[in-house]
């Protein structure tokens, strides 16, 4: 596809959610807003999927402010799928909660305004051709998503939203200092915004004194780390993911974290020549391994379902980061597979919380019990999520973790790969222990299900479960094709 077609299509994929957000404000009632939301979500995702698939099939283009390549195509497709599911499941969430952050009269309208605004930013980040502009959009996601996290207006949601707002904004401030250093050091008398285009960044960094380039790189990486939620700057992550509305938690975990990680990935590729591969890659490897290590002890504890999934985000972002750090073709195949599989399974897990909390309101704070008996459809969704995230074969995450570990060994990163393997094994055992107890264990003496399941309440989770299970099976079936595919070949050549 030519640039003349790719740029309008990419622009449309970002503009559509913004248009949808504005159109939804015209809905005369909450019911009308929900109906309109369905139409807007499908229309927006059709454009997004079209753009994403076009990026995947038409090679690398960088024109003006847009970069479209294999990486952006993968991210746009996955973000669109997750955002579509989140938008479609939002009415089910909103029917059971009275948002208090906004005025009651406009609560649902405000929710959709923020949700679609967030969607637009998530599509924009992978296709923006410039690091500086990308960071500005990352900062903008904070405004929309922090309000969504605190949507219920409950004290715990306010706490989670506030922590997220303060910590991630501070992080991005640190990253901006890194950006200013890049500008000032590379062209003290002004060199234009294009200096930070992904295609120009290697030359820009090469012009800077080595120490300054390393410092600027480290500052930007540290800033991105707070937004990705890499340990040890992850404090906001478990709180935000557990307290946000379930559809928003899915977008935070399955879309926002990996999308910001794409900036770190592009930056690493761009900086490797100027500051050296070791200096560029070591922070990624360290953040990745440390994130998995920090997550492991929490995966051994029985805890509230969404909080457990949040710690899982920490673990899986760590695994993906190690894969990016290794960067061999096999490891990159693992990264792609892990990103897609994790996004689908994790999103389903968060959606399962909608019927779960209707059946067991105290599961917001405690581990869920006896779900199989009280809500079979919810149990099925949680089981698909749990067994996928645990990396049990034939889960695609089993193959992706295998690819990353084998890729590491094959490319000489034996210590890194074996440490990751040990940590994944520990996480696997702990998670199985906690999840089996949560899914099938007897109710604790103090726990009584507070509501009977009605068909209307369980219905929303059944279809997403079936669709996700089929998609995960398809990913597994494609896994063996991936390492030798053109997608991986292009990623291995570098994405800056």
């Amino acid at each position: 596809m030519t640039d003349q077609l790719m740029i309008p299509l990419t622009t449309a994929s970002i503009a559509m959610p913004i248009v949808a957000a504005l159109v939804l404000q015209a809905a005369r009632s909450e019911r009308a807003a929900h109906r309109l939301n369905r139409v807007c979500a499908v229309a927006t995702s059709l454009v997004g999927l079209g753009a994403g698939l076009a990026m995947l099939t038409s090679g690398s283009h960088a024109t003006g402010w847009v970069i479209t390549d294999t990486a952006s195509g993968i991210y746009v497709v996955v973000v669109t799928v997750v955002a579509l599911m989140s938008a479609l499941l939002s009415p089910a969430y909103l029917s059971g909660v009275q948002g208090q952050f906004f005025s009651a009269r406009r609560s649902v309208h405000s929710y959709y305004l923020m949700l679609y605004g967030f969607w637009a930013a998530l599509i924009a980040i992978p296709v923006i051709a410039n690091l500086g502009v990308g960071l500005i959009v990352v900062e903008a996601t904070t405004a929309a998503s922090s309000v969504l996290i605190a949507f219920s207006g409950k004290p715990r949601a306010l706490e989670a939203g506030w922590k997220y707002l303060i910590l991630t904004t501070l992080g991005v401030s640190v990253a901006f200092l890194g950006i200013v250093i890049m500008f000032v050091a590379s062209a003290p008398n002004g060199g234009g915004i294009s200096q930070l285009d992904w295609s120009a960044l290697p030359a820009t960094l090469a012009r800077i004194p080595h120490d300054a380039a390393v410092a600027a790189y480290a500052l930007v990486m540290l800033g991105l780390a707070t937004k990705i939620g890499w340990a040890p700057v992850h404090n906001w992550l478990p709180d935000a993911h557990s307290e946000a509305p379930a559809p928003v938690s899915a977008m935070l975990s399955s879309a926002l974290l990996p999308v910001v990680m794409l900036l770190a990935w592009r930056l690493r590729d761009a900086a490797s020549a100027a500051i050296g591969t070791t200096a560029a890659t070591t922070p990624l490897a360290a953040f990745g391994i440390f994130s998995v290590a920090v997550a492991v002890p929490f995966l051994w504890q029985p805890m509230a379902w969404k909080r457990l999934l949040a710690y899982h985000s920490l673990e899986h972002m760590g695994i993906i980061t190690v894969g990016i750090a290794i960067a061999s073709p096999l490891a990159l195949a693992g990264v792609v597979l892990h990103f897609a599989g994790h996004a689908l399974a994790k999103a389903l897990g968060f959606y399962a919380a909608i019927p779960l909390y209707q059946v067991q309101p105290d599961a917001t704070r405690h581990s869920a019990r006896d779900v199989a008996a009280s809500s079979p459809a919810t149990f099925a969704a949680m089981a698909v999520t749990a067994f996928t995230l645990a990396g049990l074969p034939p889960s695609p995450l089993f193959f992706s973790e295998l690819f990353i570990i084998l890729g590491g060994i094959e490319s000489g990163h034996v210590l890194l790969a074996s440490t990751l393997a040990v940590l994944i094994a520990l996480a696997f055992i702990g998670l199985l222990h906690a999840l089996l107890e949560a899914l099938q264990g007897s109710p604790s003496p103090d726990h009584q299900p507070t509501a009977t399941i009605r068909t209307g309440r369980t219905a929303p989770i059944l279809m997403p479960t079936v669709v996700t299970a089929i998609a995960l099976a398809a990913l597994t079936a494609c896994a063996w094709l991936l390492p030798a595919s053109g997608i991986v070949r292009q990623l291995a050549q570098g994405i800056s």
Binding site: L170, V180, D211
Partner: protein
Amino acid sequence: MDRRRHHLSSLIATASVGLALAVVVVRRRSVALTLVTAQSLMLAGVAVWRTGGHLELMTGAGALLLRTVAIATILGIGIARTRETRPVRAGIEPMVRVVIALAALLAIPPLMPALGFGDQYAQRGAVALVVLGIIIALTRRATIVQILGIIVAENGATLAALSASDAVPGVIELGVILDLLLIAVVAIAFHTRIFGQFGSGDSAQLQDLHD
């Protein structure tokens, strides 16, 4: 000329850091807001002065000035609408906060390598402001003061940008300014909700989430 410029640069960096250090200590939110506004106005004034009257360079400087006024107004209204019965106590005593801040200032900025600024005062001042912004946000409990911590940190990047004439493109300057305005609006909405919920803008009341 160079000597004069360096003298001015050191004066601006020292004054900015001094104002940020004062924010670490003061108890009253309104005083902290006044100090940060003074710091931001000083940087905006330098930006206007640096344009030398060139109209094409005035956009960024004007936006910085506008940002300062807008944020001061937003936070000022926020403070006026949420009167505390008594100042929110910080969890850490003022003297300890000063010691932490001074220790960080003595340790971190000198450790940074030459970042290509050509002006050591601007470099150290910029790093010091980011460090102090983080310290303010993490050691103070009043939500308004935590927001001011973010602004101090962003002023660090602004000071760095001012050290080289038009090195930072206007698009980035405007984007950062708009982002900060958006964040300030959202943060004040949070502050108002927190105050409504707990009767005080004390973030120490938000400590229910932990493992």
